[in-house]
C-alpha cells in the first residue's frame, strides 16, 4: 500500500479528505509505529483518501510547553501552522491525544484552525457509517477487555464514549477499572514526564495503573495513546503478566478484526 504525502497530493493538484497527523511517537517509537500502520491500514480499507506530511511533520511542541518551555512550543507551533495552512489543510486526524488536544485547543489562537479528530472518534464514525465492518467472532470474541482513558482525551476534552463505542462493536466483554472515565488514573507519561525520570515516590504511576488494569482480569488493555501504551506495557510487565495480558491500541484491535 502506498501512502501519499501532502506534497504529492499538491503536486498532482488533488486534495485529500483528511490529513493523518502521525506524531513523533507514532513515527519513531517502534511499538507506536505498529499503531500507525494499523490505523493507516484501516483508513486504506475504508477507502479514505488521506495524506501524511511525511518529513514535513514535526513535533507539535506539547512536551516543551508542558515542561514550561513556551519558546520552543511557539517555534514548533508557528512552523507547523505555516506548513498546514500552506497546504490548505482543513481536517486532521491523529492517533495521539496530546497532538489532538494541542491542535484542537491551542493552535487556533495562533492562527491554526482545523477540524480535528482523535482516531478513536474517527473509527467510531467509520463504523457508524458502515465504512468498516468487523468480522463476527474473531480474535476478541468472548475475551475480557478493559479500556484505559488517556487524560488528554478524557478529562482534557471530555471524550469518553467514542472509544468505548468502538470496543462495543467487538464481540468482547468490556470491563471497567474502578478509576475510569473522568476518574481515570493517569498512566504517568503526561506533562513531559515521559521524557524524564519520575520523581521520588513509593511506586511508579504506571505500576499503579498496570496493577489496576491487571486486577480486572482482562486479557487485553485497550489504550488510545502511544505514551499510555509504553507506560501500561511496562506496568503489565511489572505485574509479571506480559505473557497473558496484551496492551493494544484501539486502532490495532479494530485492524485485527476487519472483515473484507
Amino acid at each position: 500500500m502506498t501512502i501519499k504525502t501532502m506534497a504529492e497530493y499538491a503536486a498532482s493538484g488533488e486534495t485529500p479528505e483528511v490529513l493523518f497527523w502521525v506524531g513523533c511517537a507514532g513515527s519513531f517509537d517502534q511499538r507506536a509505529q505498529k499503531i500507525t500502520k494499523a490505523f493507516a491500514t484501516i483508513l486504506d480499507k475504508a477507502g479514505i483518501r488521506f495524506a501524511i506530511l511525511g518529513k514535513e511533520e514535526s513535533c507539535t511542541g506539547d512536551p516543551a510547553r508542558r515542561a514550561g518551555n513556551e519558546f520552543i512550543f511557539q517555534m514548533m507551533a508557528q512552523n507547523n501552522i505555516q506548513v498546514l495552512n500552506g497546504y490548505g489543510v482543513k481536517k486532521i486526524v491523529t492517533a495521539c491525544p496530546h497532538c489532538f488536544n494541542i491542535f484542537k485547543n491551542e493552535y487556533p489562537e495562533l492562527g491554526g484552525n482545523y477540524e480535528v479528530l482523535h482516531h478513536t472518534s474517527f473509527l467510531q464514525q467509520l463504523i457508524d457509517e458502515g465504512k468498516i465492518k468487523m468480522t463476527e467472532g474473531g480474535t476478541f470474541k468472548g475475551r475480557r477487555i478493559t479500556y484505559h482513558d488517556s487524560c488528554y482525551l478524557g478529562r482534557a476534552n471530555n471524550i469518553y464514549e467514542a472509544p468505548r463505542k468502538v470496543l462495543e462493536a467487538l464481540d468482547a466483554e468490556l470491563v471497567e477499572m474502578k478509576r475510569c472515565r473522568s476518574k481515570g488514573l493517569c498512566c504517568g507519561a503526561g506533562g513531559a514526564q515521559m521524557f524524564k525520570e519520575e520523581e521520588k515516590g513509593t511506586t511508579r504511576v504506571n505500576f499503579e495503573r498496570g496493577r489496576e488494569a491487571v486486577d480486572t482480569g482482562a486479557t487485553v488493555i485497550a489504550s488510545n495513546c502511544p505514551f499510555c501504551m509504553t507506560m501500561l506495557t511496562d506496568g503489565v510487565k511489572e505485574q509479571g503478566k506480559e505473557d497473558s495480558v496484551q496492551v493494544l491500541d484501539i486502532a490495532e484491535i479494530v485492524a485485527k478484526q476487519l472483515g473484507d
Binding site: 513515527s27 493507516a40 516543551a64 485547543n105 487524560c151 478529562r155 488514573l185 507519561a189 521524557f195 504511576v205
Partner: protein
C-alpha cells in the same frame, strides 16, 4: 436592664460587622495582588456554573453519601441564618420573637423546619468529625494538613454543633416557659423538635429557664458573630467564595494551556523578521511564568482563598497516590499562605518590598512541580472549580524560562525538538520510514 442589653447587643453587632468588613477588604486587596485576567465572557454559562456547582454542589455528588450530608449542613447553615434576622431584630429592638405574631400559625412551622435542619446539621457535623478523627479517611491524614489546617476543620465542626445545640436548647426552654404561660414568652404553638424535648427541662424553675433561654440566646448570637469573624482566617471561607469562584471558573476545555502572547510575538518576529520594522518597541522586559503570587492571576488567588482543603484533588493526584511530594491541595494552601504573608506586610507598612521570599521554593519546591503529569484529575475533582494545575504550569514556566532550571533529560528533550523536530534523537529523515516499510 433591657436598654442596657439592647445597647450592648448593638455595640457587639456593629463591632463584629466592622471587623468582618475590614478583613474582607484585606482579602480583596490580597486577591487583587494577582495579575489581571478578563473572565467576563459568557455570563449565561457562568451563572449556570454558579447554580450547578455552587448552589447545587453538583460535583459533591461524585460521592453521593458525603454530598447529602454536606448538603444538609450547607442548607441548614444558610436557611437557619434566616432565623438570625429575627434574633438580630429582637436584640436591637428589645422584642422577643418579633415574627411570631405577624406570621401567626406559619411561625411554628418555620421554626419547626429550622429545628429539623438544626438536627441534620448537628448529625452531619458529628459524622464529619468521626470521618476525620476516628475513621481517619486517607485525604484527612495527609501531612499537608498537619497543625493548624487540621485543627481549623475540627473547630468549625465543633462550633457548628455547639451553635445548633444552643439554638435547640433556647427553643426548648422557650417552649416550657410558653406552656407555663410566662409573661413575655408569647405562645407560638408547638415547635417540632424542641416541643419533644420539653420533658428534659420541665423540672427547672421559671427563673432558671429564663436564665437558660437568655443565656443560650446570647451565646448563640455571640457564637454566630464570632464565627463570622473566624471565617476569613479559616479554610471555611469557601462558604462565601465558592460562589464567585464558580462564576469565574475556566470555561475552556481542561486540556487548553494559557497562551503567552509575549512569547508568541517574539517568536513570530524571529520567524518573520520583516514584520519587526512595523512593530512598536516592546515596553520593558516581560516576565515569563510565575515566581510569586503577584505573578499569578487574581483568579488563582481567589481560588486559594476559596479552597477548603478537602483534599479531593490530592486523593485523585497520580503523583500523590504514588508517594511523590506533590499535593495539589498544598499548592493551593501555600498560595493562600504566601498571599496572607504579603498581606500582613501590607497591613503594617502600606507597601510591599522584596522580602527575599517567594511562593516558589519558600513554599512550593521544584520537586513538587516536577512530579505533575498535567492529568487534570485535581481540576476535575475540585467541587468549587479550583485549578491547581494552572499555578503549577505557571511556576514551571518561570523555572524553565527565567532560571533555565530543568532536569537534564528535559534539556535534552528541548534540544531534540529544536534540532530534530521530535523529542527523541531520531533523524527527521526517518519520520516516514514506517510508510516506506508499508510499501511492499
Amino acid at each position: 436592664m433591657h436598654l442596657v442589653q439592647q445597647l450592648l447587643f448593638v455595640i457587639v453587632l456593629a463591632a463584629a460587622v466592622y471587623l468582618f468588613a475590614r478583613k474582607v477588604r484585606e482579602i480583596r486587596r490580597n486577591i487583587l495582588l494577582g495579575r489581571d485576567v478578563a473572565l467576563n465572557d459568557n455570563p449565561g454559562e457562568r451563572w449556570r456554573n454558579v447554580l450547578l456547582l455552587a448552589f447545587g454542589q453538583k460535583k459533591m455528588f461524585r460521592n453521593p453519601l458525603v454530598a447529602v450530608l454536606h448538603f444538609f449542613v450547607y442548607a441548614g447553615f444558610i436557611i437557619i441564618n434566616a432565623e438570625i434576622l429575627e434574633i438580630i431584630l429582637d436584640g436591637a429592638i428589645g422584642t422577643h420573637r418579633l415574627f411570631a405574631s405577624p406570621l401567626g400559625s406559619l411561625y411554628p412551622v418555620l421554626i419547626g423546619c429550622f429545628e429539623i435542619l438544626a438536627v441534620l446539621v448537628l448529625s452531619g457535623c458529628a459524622i464529619f468529625l468521626i470521618r476525620r478523627n476516628i475513621l481517619k479517611l486517607q485525604r484527612f491524614i495527609g501531612h499537608d494538613l498537619d497543625g493548624w489546617p487540621r485543627s481549623d476543620a475540627n473547630y468549625i465542626l465543633i462550633t457548628e454543633i455547639v451553635l445548633m445545640v444552643l439554638f435547640l436548647t433556647m427553643n426548648t426552654a422557650d417552649q416550657v416557659l410558653q406552656s407555663r404561660g410566662s409573661e413575655h414568652y408569647i405562645a407560638t404553638g408547638n415547635f417540632w423538635i424542641s416541643g419533644l424535648l420539653t420533658p428534659l427541662l420541665n423540672g427547672l424553675s421559671d427563673s432558671s429557664l429564663m436564665a437558660l433561654e437568655r443565656g443560650c440566646w446570647w451565646l448563640h448570637i455571640l457564637g454566630v458573630l464570632a464565627f463570622l469573624n473566624y471565617l476569613p482566617f479559616s479554610k471555611h471561607l469557601h462558604i462565601i467564595l465558592a460562589f464567585p469562584n464558580a462564576y469565574y471558573a475556566d470555561l475552556r476545555p481542561k486540556g487548553k494551556m494559557e497562551n503567552m502572547p509575549a512569547v508568541q510575538k517574539e517568536v513570530q518576529l524571529m520567524l518573520q523578521p520583516e514584520l519587526a520594522a512595523s512593530e512598536p518597541p516592546a515596553e520593558g522586559i516581560p516576565k515569563f511564568g510565575a515566581k510569586d503570587v503577584q505573578d499569578l492571576t487574581w483568579k488563582n488567588l481567589l481560588e486559594a482563598y476559596s479552597c477548603t482543603a478537602c483534599g479531593r484533588c490530592t486523593a485523585a493526584c497520580p503523583a500523590n497516590i504514588t508517594g511523590k511530594k506533590l499535593s495539589p491541595r498544598k499548592i493551593m494552601m501555600d498560595t493562600r499562605d504566601r498571599a496572607e504573608e504579603i498581606g500582613r506586610v501590607l497591613n503594617k507598612q502600606g507597601t510591599f518590598q522584596e522580602d527575599g521570599k517567594a511562593l516558589l521554593r519558600d513554599y512550593i519546591s521544584e520537586e513538587e512541580l516536577r512530579a505533575c503529569t498535567t492529568c487534570n484529575a485535581c481540576v476535575q475533582e475540585c467541587p468549587v472549580s479550583i485549578n491547581p494545575l494552572h499555578i503549577i504550569l505557571q511556576l514551571r514556566r518561570h523555572l524553565v524560562m527565567e532560571e533555565s532550571s530543568a532536569p537534564a533529560e528535559w534539556n535534552m528533550m528541548f534540544g531534540n525538538i529544536e534540532n530534530n523536530m521530535a523529542p527523541w534523537k531520531f533523524s527527521p529523515d526517518d519520520r516516514d520510514k514506517w510508510a516506506v516499510e508499508m510499501q511492499g
